[in-house]
Amino acid sequence: MQPPTGPALASAPESPPGAAPGSPLLRWQWREVQAPCLVAGWILVASLAKIVFQLSKKVTSVVPESCLLILLGLGLGGIVLAITKRAEYQLEPSMFFLFLLPPIVLDSGYFMPSRLFFDNLGAILTYAVIGTLWNSFATGAALWGVKQAGLMDEGVEAGLMDFLLFGSLISAVDPVAVLAVFEEVHINETLFIIVFGESLLNDAVTVVLYKVFNSFVEMGPAHVQATDYLKGVASFFVVSLGGAAVGLLFAFLLALITRFTKRVRIIEPLFVFLLAYMAYLAAEMVSLSSILAVTFCGICCKKYVEANISRKSRTTVKYTMKTLASSSETVIFMFLGISAVDTSKWAWDTALVLGTLLFILLFRAVGVILQTWVLNHFRLTPLDRIDQVVMSYGGLRGAVAFALVILLDGAKVRAKDYFVATTIVVVFFTVLVQGLTIKPLVKWLKVKRSDHHKPTLNEELHEHAFDHILAAVEDVVGHHGYRYWRDKWEQFDKRYLSQLLMRKSAYRLKDEIWDVYCKLNIRDAISFVDQGGHVLSASRLTLPSMPSRSSMSESSVTNLLRESGSGACLDLQVIDTVRSRRDKEDAVMHHVLRGSLYKPRRRYKASYSRHFISPSTQERQDKEIFQQNMKRRLETFKSTKHNVCSAKSKARLKKDGRKKKKSAANAELPNGKPPRSVTWQQTAAVLVAVDSDDEESDSSETEKEDDEGIIFIARATDEILQGKKASGSLDVCPSPRIIPPSPTSAEKELPWKGDRGDLAVYISSETTKIVPVDMQTAWKQSISSLESVASPPGAEPGLHAKTLAGPAPEERHVVPEQRTCFQFPNPLLRSSRPQSAGSPERTEQPELQPLMAPDEHGRMSTSAGPSNSRWLIQFNRAARFSDG
């Protein structure tokens, strides 16, 4: 904020004199860090002040923050003045224009509702160009008249040119002030966009007028020739169109660059800021309108950039932009306050101050009324009287005027001190008085407020339809209006621009209606999770976007999940298509186990990478909870058949899940909106197909690496069998080993078995063969019967299953204790192993087959029976044990 060479704060101690010679343990290095430290310090002070302001809702609801900040600045300025006996920390024009203004303009340009902006572009341009010209000349001339009338002090040495110069800088509506005040007022969008758009676009006029008059004043009015006037007019077009062109150029570059940032996601947001800033600097460099450049860069690049960058980058861009803009704004207002304290720059002239105040208000009102009268002839919805009052009254002046007046050359413009004082008074008056009173005024006049409602699919669809209908009717009527050109532009954009500037994946999925549909689905899904997600029956499900519907997004969310390739949703289809009963049982078990077991066991890589952000544990848990709940919901909804078997375990899971969800919801609720949107981001990655595919595959890859599902050694693999053989007798059972199991037939048949191995607990059809191997009592009980059945190798297992159903239940009780059986082989290995690998080996062990098979299938059949819920619970318990 302040020149780095400026003297240190009085309170800042200098390097201690008389420090011990030699190498000191600590050295005071204030000078080295002074500049950045002061900048950071001031921003910190301003930000802390914001927190303090927000403590009192009463105050902030009445007084706009900008007012409070200015007052705070006044106070701080007073303190600084009292301590240092001289004014410090002024708002430096160079600082203002190079560092403080760009973030605000970029923010407003980037988040400008472009449709609204272009719909009202005519009105905005009129007010910005003609209105500002009128204000400047009228104010300047009137002030000159006052001077001529002898009402002003003799000290104000200014001619017509000086007054016109002053008029040009004081008449422009200031974007920073307008934004700060109007954002809190919430007037309807059309009115807001007109006032705000005007404040942005009038920059070109202000810059040109200011420069032209400044050069005139410096040349001396006597030397100004006719060609100079012409040059002035010409320079207006150059400055404004040139500025816009620079903005468009950089917007194009930016969009093009973000197309290729697939592999460097982490620096994606940086490009947005860098290029926009470059646009600002480039325009500034060639003295074009830099505000116009950044505004247009922001407006135009947004569509493509948003489509190209990842969802997380989008959030980053949004928050960073808002943070930067907000802190800039805060600092600007605070320093405006501080600067006002400096009386050395003041030269008060009552006539000048009062005259200026009167004229800017009067001419603004006159200008608005005249222009609106003309514009209303062309507007579909005329701006009524109330709108005009708000527009006149909302013409706030701000930091731009102040910075410009400070920039004046005191040697050439001899009345500079008077102008500075007047500008400060005008800025303070507009921000404080008008800013304070505009809210009550808007209320009193009953200005249409903006009603924020969430878009519905119907509205989006019908709006599009209306656009098409109107375009068609225009064609029939034979009138090529605004809609015609918008249509043409959209076609051009679709055919060429989007293809050039958007990623293939983004372009493919780009459709507004589809976008809205996805957003709605995500919202529903989130609210579902927020509600507790444990609501298993669809009839009890209520969703905010469609309160009356019960069966609502059953299909839509399901489909979305299915399309996004999320592992959670694959099951449904599968269950429907699975033929054999055995596979169904298998599927049930798969669900239950998968839903309940894997979570606590997962290991996370303690990884740090500067280039990639791996999702945090919390994020993962959220994803999991979400997936689980969706899955369970779908499960219960569709496959009621399977409810019976897993009812008990589910009940427990439900409780468990509910607890988690509640805590998650509680954590989010107090903070209101922002955390919600964060969740949205988190869950979105799981859900949404819209996001670029590369991201998805990325995340699944990392999951593959990090997540190790619990795998039951589900096969009578040769190693175990051999081990048994080696032991020679069935009394001694080998301890289990880690065996990369080969895919079973079920794995091949059931799609979810093969699904990229993402955190699945694999329970294949052979799962039940797991039977804890060193279960001696069980073995002993069954051995006799096993041996009695002389079944041929590779015999149909079902037969044995039936014959051996008896002893199995007893074994079941022992199952949970055999935690050691559960191992963590890499799931990737199993899925990649060819299926055939297992079977030949198996046949090589014919003598063992009868031993294992009957028992396996005995379990199999019991689990298929009505009592299998018990069985499943025990599995769960096993998980719990090992968890602890």
Binding site: H462, F466, Y517
Partner: protein, 195 residues
């Protein structure tokens, strides 16, 4: 539009048209000129073929439906009176003027009539309901090819469920009107040109 402006007296039933549609005389004249320009063979009627000749309509996704809206059920031709009656839907609604005509039936440019016009574009079989299939058809027209049929079906399903209040799986006109309640129909469905 290149052709000579017709004299008001040349227009058949001028007064009735003005009374019925609320158009000013200048607008009726202008539209009559356009009508004649479209009617290339000067037969006094427009056929669908005439309207299809408008280049931009061909690329408009709803172009065909709008052309059809100009023609009564089963008719292949439209005269100027029907033509301008359809266009009257798009005349902006003036504040305070809607009641002064004192006629019992709403003016063609009322919100209700504008909505009805839009509704009939969806409701192709004129059964007073937008069925799932009709919704799907409109979506197919309006949504880019990059969206798959399955996705489209989801959207249609969802859209209907969103608006469907009585649970009959279709959108009635009342439901349609409710679903666009928040939109500024008077403004959205008006052409400044036809003021």
């Amino acid at each position: 539009m290149g052709c000579q402006s017709s004299h008001p007296s040349a227009i058949p039933e001028l007064d009735e048209i003005m009374l019925e549609t609320g158009f000013s005389q200048a607008n009726v004249v202008r539209l009559y000129d356009r009508f004649q320009a479209l009617d290339k063979e000067q037969k006094g009627y427009l056929s669908k073929y005439d309207l299809q000749g408008i280049g931009e309509l061909a690329v408009n996704p709803l172009g065909d439906r709008i052309i059809n809206a100009f023609f009564k059920e089963g008719e292949e031709l439209t005269d100027f009176r029907s033509f301008i009656r359809v266009l009257a839907h798009f005349r902006p609604l003036e504040k305070g003027k809607s009641n002064e005509t004192g006629r019992p039936e709403p003016t063609p440019n009322s919100r209700l009539r504008k909505l009805q016009f839009a509704f009939q574009l969806y409701d192709q079989d004129s059964d007073g309901k937008i069925s799932r299939d009709e919704m799907l058809q409109v979506l197919r027209l309006m949504v880019g090819i990059q969206v798959t049929d399955e996705q489209l079906a989801c959207i249609a399903e969802r859209t209907i469920q969103e608006a469907d209040q009585d649970g009959d799986g279709a959108i009635s006109f009342e439901e349609f009107a409710t679903s666009v309640e928040k939109l500024n129909i008077e403004q959205r469905m008006s052409l400044r040109l036809l003021k």
